[in-house]
């Protein structure tokens, strides 16, 4: 590390492979100071302006918001809040086209500006050195700061790292042609930027702080050197101009000679890189309590009559910025001549090499928008070519000569066209940083980056599908396993049940009847007695006594009662009229039966029948005379039972029950001829 500093002190740097020297075109805007624009009528704030997730909404349509008020809050570490750039009213929350290469629509807050620009309450921090590390990180997180260089990685995550940081690198390279936003910010706000660097120094405590700046910004270099004169730790490193020096990995290589392992973050090598505009935003947030609500945007290109750097509020539509700088539409003039509808000339957000053309003029400025480029046809003809001028690759290898990642662009191109994903991975497609150097130099004018983007998207999609398939497979396997387990368990259960059944059957044969059946019979007898007594005492309806919740027992009881009643009556009268009575009783019994049939519980019915049979058996045991008859009746009962189980028709079942009842009555009649009475038996 010391040797690295020695080298830097001597003004020697390392090199990264490749790189290009496109025309700079920075002079268009570099000389004019940053202009403060008047407030636009409406602001469109996308909820998500960074890598990660969008925050949760805190406002609803119609709310009045003050400047700097948080509009979303983060519930996730990767979520970054957005703030109202000025005071006004939320007029809508709906999907709108955002700054995205594919012209996607995302949820946006529409703020009608009231023009008063009233601030929320602010707390100015006099001395940030008294703040704790966590307090500063919280302030940065609450201010909604995301990397302002391009990717928009949440800053509070980047600065919240383990303590052993060797190098804090401030990226002031601004290597893309045309863009001068950082350049002018450094010229005009060097003190604030250095404050931001000091704040970062306080959190990260790096061994050294290196500011990487290309030598095409002499004024900014001077301003930074002036501002960091008394700080030993900070080194302003003036680098030769070459695109893409501002690439994170390329800048690290130039300054430290280290390469960041593919697939890892610089922090794992003890390096943190922050954009210079982010440093300014940090100092604004921590010291002045101003959240990230504005940024410097370079408005440039020959299609603008007044190219200029401006302070643009986040959410300002591009149309407003173009209006302010005198945008002339070359093609629409031609359109009137040709008469055929043609799209407007390209308007690019970002630089000419990595920027993307925006879908329409409603696209708002977001945290990562550093430049709006409106080129004329003469200065950037390839941007106007709708038809690709692509011809076959002649393998000249100029692309691999300029590739900063040392890839083989022409081989990647063959594989991308052939959709050979395996080969693409082998050629390290995912180390491509989309810098566009290869496509810039390609004499065959092959849109190489476009091919890589498509291939990358396809591979990602395939990976997602693979993951999905893998999950589905795992789910299927788990289900198969579970079903298997259940099957085994079921078999086990069945085996046990079978064993139990066998055991009980053995018991039955041994005892001549199960204990439970004996108990049920006893219960039935007790109930029968009770019922008999009740009926003797009062003529209450049968239903009233049916308070038992259990249907099985209800049915059993009812049947038992009915039987008991009959017996009692027969005893009471002891007359030949009994037959008549029986006939009158039968409908009652059938009624009872039908009631129980409403429940439609076969088990209950079977149980009832069994109970009946048992009861009968019990009574018959006492009258050996009718034993033969009883056995014949039992057979009948079982027969009727079979019919009840088989026949689903209620009528059939009722008829069977009636038949059973009649059969029983007959048995009873016969039993009465015997000298012993039921009464005695039941007692």
């Amino acid at each position: 590390m010391e040797s690295i500093i020695e080298r830097i002190k001597q003004g020697k740097f390392w090199h990264f492979h490749g790189g290009i020297h496109p025309p700079q075109q920075k002079a268009i805007t570099a000389e004019n100071p940053i202009k403060q624009l008047s407030l636009p009528k409406q602001l469109i704030l996308p909820l998500q302006q960074h890598i990660g997730r969008q925050g949760d909404l805190l406002v609803v349509v119609g709310d009045k918001v003050l400047k700097g008020q948080a509009l979303t809050q983060s519930s996730n570490p990767m979520a970054v809040p957005v703030h109202a750039p000025t005071s006004g009213t939320i007029s809508a929350i709906k999907k709108s086209v955002i700054a995205h290469p594919s012209g996607l629509s995302e949820l946006c807050l529409f703020i009608d500006v009231d023009g008063e620009d009233t601030w929320r309450k602010r707390e100015i921090c006099q001395d940030f050195t008294k703040l704790s590390q966590q307090q500063i990180i919280n302030k940065i997180a609450d201010a909604g700061i995301a990397g302002m260089g391009g990717a928009g990685f949440p800053t509070h995550i980047k600065v919240n790292t383990k303590p052993n940081i060797n190098f804090l690198i401030i990226n002031a390279a601004e290597c893309e042609p045309y863009i001068t936003a950082d350049d002018l910010l450094m010229c005009e706000q060097s003190t604030a930027i250095v404050d931001g660097i000091k704040i970062l120094d306080q959190i990260l405590t790096p061994a050294f702080i290196l500011i990487g700046i290309e030598d095409n910004k002499p004024r900014a270099i001077k301003a930074l050197q002036q501002a960091t004169k008394h700080i030993e730790k900070i080194k302003v490193c003036v680098l030769p101009t070459k695109y893409p020096t501002g690439g994170e990995k390329q800048l690290i290589k130039i300054l430290t000679g280290k390469e960041i392992n593919s697939g890892t973050l610089p922090v794992s090598s003890g390096i943190v890189v922050q954009n210079v505009a982010t440093c300014f935003a940090i100092s604004d947030a921590v010291i002045n309590d101003i959240p990230l609500i504005r940024r410097v945007v370079t408005l440039t290109g020959r299609a603008l009559s007044k190219p200029q750097n401006v302070w643009a509020l986040l959410g300002t539509p591009v149309s407003y910025l173009l209006e302010q700088t005198g945008f002339t539409n070359e093609i629409s003039e031609k359109k009137s001549i040709a008469g055929s509808p043609q799209p407007s000339p390209p308007v690019i957000m970002g630089g000419p090499l990595m920027g993307f053309s925006i879908l329409n003029e409603q696209v708002p400025v977001v945290k990562t928008s550093n430049c709006i480029l409106a080129p004329s046809k003469a200065e950037m003809p390839s941007a106007f070519d709708n038809n690709s001028n692509e011809v076959d690759c002649i393998r000249c290898g100029q692309c691999s000569d300029v590739c900063p990642s040392q890839l083989l662009p022409q081989e990647l191109q063959w594989s991308a066209k052939a959709k050979d994903h395996q080969q693409l991975n082998q050629l390290n497609l995912f180390d491509c940083i989309d810098c566009g150097a290869c496509a810039y130099v390609c004499p065959s004018q092959i849109p190489l980056v476009q091919y890589y983007r498509i291939a990358k998207a396809e591979i990602r999609q395939q990976q997602q599908l693979d993951i999905k398939a893998e999950k589905a497979k795992a789910r299927f396997e788990a289900r198969k396993f579970r079903l298997g387990q259940e099957k085994i368990a079921r078999e086990e259960k069945h085996k046990k049940a079978a064993a139990a059944r066998k055991a009980t059957m053995n018991e039955k044969s041994a005892d001549g009847g199960t204990a439970s059946s004996a108990v049920a019979a006893a219960l039935a007898r007790v109930k029968a007695k009770k019922a008999a007594q009740k009926i003797k005492n009062s003529n209450e309806p049968l239903a009233s006594s049916n308070e038992v919740t259990d249907e099985k027992s209800q049915v059993k009881a009812a049947i038992a009662r009915a039987k008991a009643k009959r017996l009692a009556k027969e005893k009471g009268t002891e007359s030949p009229v009994a037959n008549n009575k029986e006939q009158t009783k039968t409908p009652a019994v059938t009624n009872n039966k039908t009631q129980s049939n409403v429940v439609d519980d076969k088990k209950a019915r079977i149980a009832a029948a069994v109970a009946k049979a048992k009861a009968k058996k019990a009574s018959e045991k006492q009258s050996p005379v009718v034993e033969n008859n009883v056995s014949s009746e039992q057979e009948q009962v079982t027969a009727s039972e079979n019919t009840t189980t088989e026949a689903k028709d209620k009528k059939a079942r009722i008829a069977a029950a009636v038949a059973k009842a009649k059969a029983k009555l007959k048995v009873m009649d016969k039993a009465q001829q015997a000298p012993t009475t039921n009464n005695e038996k039941s007692t």
Binding site: I20, P22, P101, G103, P177, K249, E259, I260, N261, S262, T264, I331, P343, S344, P345, P346, I348, G350, P352, L353, M354, G355, F356, S357, I358, L359, N360, E361, P375, M380, S382, A383, F384, N386, V391, D392, C393, I394, R395, C396, G397, Q398, S400, P404, Q406, L407, L408, E411, N428, D431, G436, A439, Y440, V441, C442, P443, S444, Q445, V449, Q450
Partner: protein
């Protein structure tokens, strides 16, 4: 107002394949001029014949392949360059059908049958040259001596007459044209050297022959120097990679130097190897053909070195006096394999291993 949607990068260096090809053609002009100066109109006539043929063939094949924008592809310069290189290589007084057959073969078989520009595994001009050399050995070895050594005045009309009728206006045959004052048939310096060393003469004795001139090879040395200058311009303009010619010339130099130091009697000097035959043309215009060469820096160095070695071996031990064409074709075959094994290390890959090795 909807804007024009395009993919980044939006800017382009405005480099074009056709511009590149044209530059190579311009760079070949000094060499062609030197050829004209020393050997007459023959090669220019062959170049014109070949160019006409390739344009015709290219047009027919592209039409058959239902290609769009034929005009653009036809004049992208690649076919014309092929024709020019072939025309330069042919013996000046070879009959007219040689260049026509060669050019047609180069375009139809070697280039378009493999898929057209960028898809051909072999250098079309060299493949055609080898085909002609094997099929028509007499016509393809009927090299004439430099004009200054000839007894017959070979002006434009005479050259045309020889190429189209096999006889000059005065009725001299090709064979007679090649015969010097003393009745010996003249050949190229490489040819002469090979024959003489085969006869047991030392190199010094052979070099007495007038065909070698005062320095190394009368006429040929200037043609080679002219191509060398053109090549340097191409490298300066970054139209070709410097690795291939450098390693080729070095390799040839080293081989001939070793042989010359061991046995100066039977081996020609290093400069003789550099400045005779198609050495410089091969180094700067043929081997550097991007389509059929290696693409990585290391690969280019390997290809160049391999070609240098092959050229030397063929010149000294082979059956043919010069070996550029054969060496190029062999290297073309090896190029994909060399590319496969000379892939550069991608940024951020194998960093760990490198560090461990360093420790």
């Amino acid at each position: 107002m909807a804007f024009w949607i395009a993919s980044s990068p939006h800017n382009h260096s405005q480099a074009k394949t056709s511009v590149l090809m044209r530059l190579v053609i311009y760079a070949a002009l000094p060499g062609i001029f030197a050829q004209w100066y020393f050997f007459g109109w023959g090669n220019i006539i062959h170049i014109l014949l070949a160019v006409t043929t390739v344009i015709l063939c290219e047009f027919i094949v592209l039409s058959l392949r239902n290609k769009k924008n034929i005009r653009k592809q036809l004049f992208d310069g690649s076919a014309i360059l092929t024709a020019i290189l072939l025309g330069i290589c042919l013996p000046a007084i070879a009959p007219w059908w040689i260049s026509i057959i060669g050019a047609a073969f180069a375009i139809v078989v070697v280039k378009q049958l493999y898929g057209g520009l960028g898809h051909n595994p072999f250098n079309p001009a060299m493949a055609a040259y080898v085909m002609l050399l094997i099929s028509f050995p007499i016509q393809m070895t009927s090299w004439q001596p430099p004009l200054a050594l000839m007894t017959i005045d070979l002006d434009l009309a005479n050259t045309l007459s020889v190429i189209f009728t096999d006889f000059t206006k005065e009725g001299y045959s090709v064979q007679q044209l090649r015969t010097s004052v003393d009745g010996f048939t003249m050949a190229t310096p490489l040819d002469t050297l090979k024959t003489n060393t085969g006869l047991g003469l030392t190199v010094f004795e052979s070099m007495e022959s007038s065909i070698f001139g005062k320095n190394f090879a009368f006429g040929w040395e200037w043609v080679n120097i002219a191509f060398f200058i053109g090549g340097i311009v191409l490298i300066a303009k970054k139209a070709i990679a410097w690795q291939t010619p450098l390693s080729f010339l070095l390799s040839l130099f080293i081989c001939s130097f070793i042989a010359y130091s061991i046995s100066p009697d039977s081996s020609a000097s290093t400069m003789f190897h550099w400045l005779t035959g198609g050495c410089m043309l091969g180094a700067f215009f043929i081997l550097t053909d991007p389509v059929t060469g290696a693409t990585s820096t290391k690969g280019r160095l390997i290809i160049g070195a391999l070609a240098g070695l092959l050229v030397y071996l063929i010149r000294v031990f082979g059956g043919y006096p010069d070996g550029i064409a054969f060496a190029v074709l062999l290297c073309n075959m090896a190029a994909p394999l060399i590319d496969q094994y000379t892939r550069p290390r991608t940024y951020g890959h194998q960093v760990q291993e490198k560090r461990e090795e360093a420790k």
